[in-house]
């Protein structure tokens, strides 16, 4: 193995403080990656338990358990916890772990800032969750924070704003770190067009983050001054413009949803070639498609606002620009399918989750295309049809690929294989229940059920009950995930350096588990060329 000689000569570098101080003070990209992933996992279950509470209240018509205001807090904090607490930190964690390994760098470029950006997150979420215990209750104005409603919030309002500021600062620092690392720390010979697609999609995601997180920060700062310092940017009573907030918010918000999904495209582009034993079809087209999606994300924001009363020209522009997104997204789906064509397929857990992604994310794409049609959107907007749409792209989209990524690299991280049978159970239960949970919500939306309501008319009872059963099933099946991961950390069959037969890339050139320090000596050109994305050309 090309790597082991150098690894052993650096064995003496592996000293690290032990116990809690190691984790508080660490500047090691693998430690920080692990911290991010653990944090994301915890927030996934926090946000998930709120979803269970929501589905419990919606199990049948009538108010059984919750005050309507608390129900609104549940939907609001569920969204914030899942987006900013679970999915984004999970991607940053995977970036921390894998980008240095994949580009042949010894660590992230800015290790101390890396530590800081992680440790902001627990404080941010403490502030957010403290909201449940202050007068007025947790934020209940929706994660979209629309004024004037959000300005009616109680004491949790400033807490939530500060929490969002901290999350934003953390994300911006994480994004700067990723860009600086990719631009400056690649091993010699790791040219941009040799980088694995996970690195590419993260590079583009990081630019999106830098472009839009400050916009969100600006918007919530203005909300704060509207509430406490007598300004009236957005509060209508003082002559402000509440629609302006929506424009600013969605200028952040639409790129934000691509921030949640672009790294997922990267993961799928790693996993499908590995288990098809065939290089990714149309590598460059994939890079350009990702870049086009990122570009388009800046000019489609008002499709979230078709009912606010925009001028006709505005509605037309945002309808047509939104439809364009289908083209690069289609290219990606076709490329993934073509990668499998004439491959040699096996169906290990990471591949299974990515295949479910392929089908279910496409379903989310179809409903997205329908939602783009402005006149039809007058009927879909703010109904369960929208809820079904964005959960299809976020749960089997982002979350399934995060799970796939963990199952893909877990043996590399721990040095052990995990329980494949249980992981397959995890896959089948998740895939079946996620459809029972979210597919009926399309019907509910079309039948006329608005979103964000704690109780509903009796004609919506049947599908809500089905959806709730799916929800409980999905929630319970996710408990398998930490069990499988912890079991794998504790022990298991030894994993080889190249864990999967068809795996190519620099991360598979280092031993499993990956040593504390890797690539202190950059990989040789020969290793890069044999392990790189274009391995068949050589």
């Amino acid at each position: 193995m090309a790597y082991s000689a150098t690894a052993e000569s650096h064995e003496h570098h592996d000293h690290k403080p032990s116990g809690l101080w190691r984790w508080l003070s660490t500047t090691n990209h693998k430690d920080i990656g692990t911290l991010y992933l653990i944090f994301a996992g915890v927030m996934f279950f926090v946000g998930g338990s709120m979803a269970m509470v929501i589905r419990l209240e919606l199990f049948k018509p009538g108010m059984q358990f919750l005050d309507p205001a608390f129900f609104n807090s549940m939907t609001t904090v569920h969204a914030l916890a899942m987006i900013f607490g679970a999915v984004m930190p999970a991607w940053v964690g995977l970036a921390n772990w894998m980008i240095p390994l994949q580009v042949g760098a010894p660590d992230m470029a800015l290790p101390r800032m890396n530590n800081f950006s992680f440790w902001l997150l627990p404080f941010a979420f403490t502030l957010l969750l403290i909201g449940f215990f202050v007068p007025g209750g947790a934020p209940a104005g929706g994660w979209t924070l629309y004024p004037p409603l959000v300005l009616q919030g109680g004491d949790s309002f400033p807490l939530a704003i500060f929490a969002i500021h901290l999350m934003g600062a953390s994300s911006i620092m994480g994004a700067i770190n990723v860009i600086v690392t990719i631009m400056n720390m690649r091993a010699p010979g790791m040219t941009l067009l040799r980088m694995p697609l996970f690195v590419w999609t993260w590079l583009i995601t990081a630019y999106l983050l830098i472009a839009v997180m400050p916009v969100l920060a600006g918007a919530v700062t203005m909300l704060l001054t509207d509430h406490f310092f007598g300004t009236s940017f957005f509060s209508a009573s003082g002559g402000g413009d509440p629609v302006m907030f929506q424009h600013v918010f969605w200028f952040f918000g639409h790129p934000e949803v691509y921030i949640l999904i672009l790294p997922a495209f990267g993961i799928v582009s790693e996993v499908i070639p590995t288990f098809s034993r065939k290089p990714l079809f149309g590598y460059e087209a994939m890079v350009y498609a990702t870049a086009s999606i990122a570009f388009l994300s800046f000019i489609v924001w008002a499709h979230h606002m078709f009912t606010v009363g925009m001028p006709l020209a505005g509605e037309l522009f945002f309808m047509l620009s939104t439809m364009l997104i289908a083209i690069p997204t289609g290219v990606k789906v076709f490329n993934w399918s073509a990668t499998m064509w004439k491959g040699s397929l096996t169906f290990e857990p990471p591949m299974l989750f990515c295949l479910a992604f392929l089908f279910l994310f496409s379903i989310g794409g179809f409903s997205g295309l329908m939602l783009a049609i402005a006149p039809a959107d007058f009927q879909y907007q703010d109904t369960y049809f929208v809820v079904a749409h964005f959960h299809y792209v976020l749960v089997p989209g982002s979350i399934f690929t995060i799970i796939a990524a963990v199952y893909y690299w877990l043996p590399k991280w721990t040095g052990h294989m995990y329980d494949m049978t249980l992981a397959k159970w995890h896959f089948w239960l998740s895939t079946i229940f996620v459809n029972v949970l979210f597919f009926p919500q399309h019907f509910l939306g079309l039948a006329g059920m608005p979103r964000r309501i704690p109780d509903y008319a009796t004609q919506f009872a049947d599908w809500n009950m089905v959806s709730s059963i799916g929800g409980f099933g999905f929630g319970l099946s996710q408990l398998l995930f930490p069990y499988i991961v912890i079991k794998c950390i504790r022990g298991g069959e030894k994993a080889a350096a190249r864990v999967w037969e068809g795996a190519h890339g620099l991360e598979w050139e280092v031993p499993s588990p990956a040593p504390y320090h890797t690539w202190e000596t950059a990989p040789s050109l020969a290793v890069i060329h044999s392990g790189g994305e274009h391995w068949t050309e050589d």
């Binding site: 009538g62 108010m63 358990f65 919750l66 005050d67 309507p68 609104n72 209940a140 004037p148 409603l149 209508a236 413009d241 509440p242 098809s276 034993r277 065939k278 079809f281 149309g282 009912t307 009363g309 006709l312 047509l320 439809m323 364009l324 289908a326 083209i327 290219v331 789906v333 399918s337 073509a338 499998m340 064509w341 004439k342 491959g343 040699s344 397929l345 096996t346 392929l358 089908f359 496409s362 179809f366 049609i373 402005a374 006149p375 007058f378 009927q379 703010d382 019907f443 079309l446 039948a447 006329g448 608005p450 964000r452 309501i453 109780d455 509903y456 009796t458 004609q459 009872a461 068949t536």
Partner: protein, 289 residues
Amino acid sequence: MNMKKLATAIAVVTAALASPAAFAAWTLNMTPGISAISRRIYDLHMVMYWWCVAIAIVVFGFMIYTMVRFRKSQGAVPDTKLVHSTTVEIIWTVIPVLILIIMAVPATRTLIETDDASHSQLTIRITGYQWKWGYQYVDSGVEVLSTLDRASNAARQLGSNIDPATVPNYLLNVDHPLVVPAGVKVRLLISAQDVIHSWWVPALAIKKDAIPGFVNEAWFNIDADKTGLYRGQCAELCGRDHGFMPIVIDVRSKADFEAWLKTQQAMQRPADPAAPAVATAAPAPAHTG
């Protein structure tokens, strides 16, 4: 199904107002609605739906075939040279472009049509409040305040122990519906007093945000034969009781509507011409708070 039977029975009892919009349970699809525009939108929705189904059959079919055909367990050998094909990539970029153009044409046409509120014969001002709707007939000055009906309101309280199935039109019934004429082009001017609401009646395919400080415009022209009750809800999160401010429109023939409007005018004017009286007699609508 018990509750369905009950709902039907009640609909029959209130014969005069028997709603053609009686929902069946397990509803799967959007209502085609009661106006030319709402049917256009429904058709657009169905066209988009069938396109998506067709594309899904082709794409998913290809993926499933691939997954079955090229299994390693069946001895598939990878063709590692197959990594690029300009022809194929051009084809799968151009075909979606063409499909999108085909989709965009009717969508654009319908959008332009929904935007044209000119030549309306009646104007109604709609105001959203936390948590009720105010309606004002601009020319006659008649005002209606529309809140969740008592039966639903009692049943929806936490721990009320009232089975929602026993409440007719649970959460979709109001004390004073918005009375509108069929066969007349009606213009709506939609605004709000406190926070953003959204006025949505699926049968009209109208959903328009009610925004404080803004006046939004919408319009409808209901088919002359589609008299009856149609129901909708607030569609924008507006605080604690967002789920409890339904909308009911009572569509009447032009003559019936005008008779109703005259009665209301007579009832509201003597009380207080500037601001209509609080708590007027029986079916009379109240003031705006």
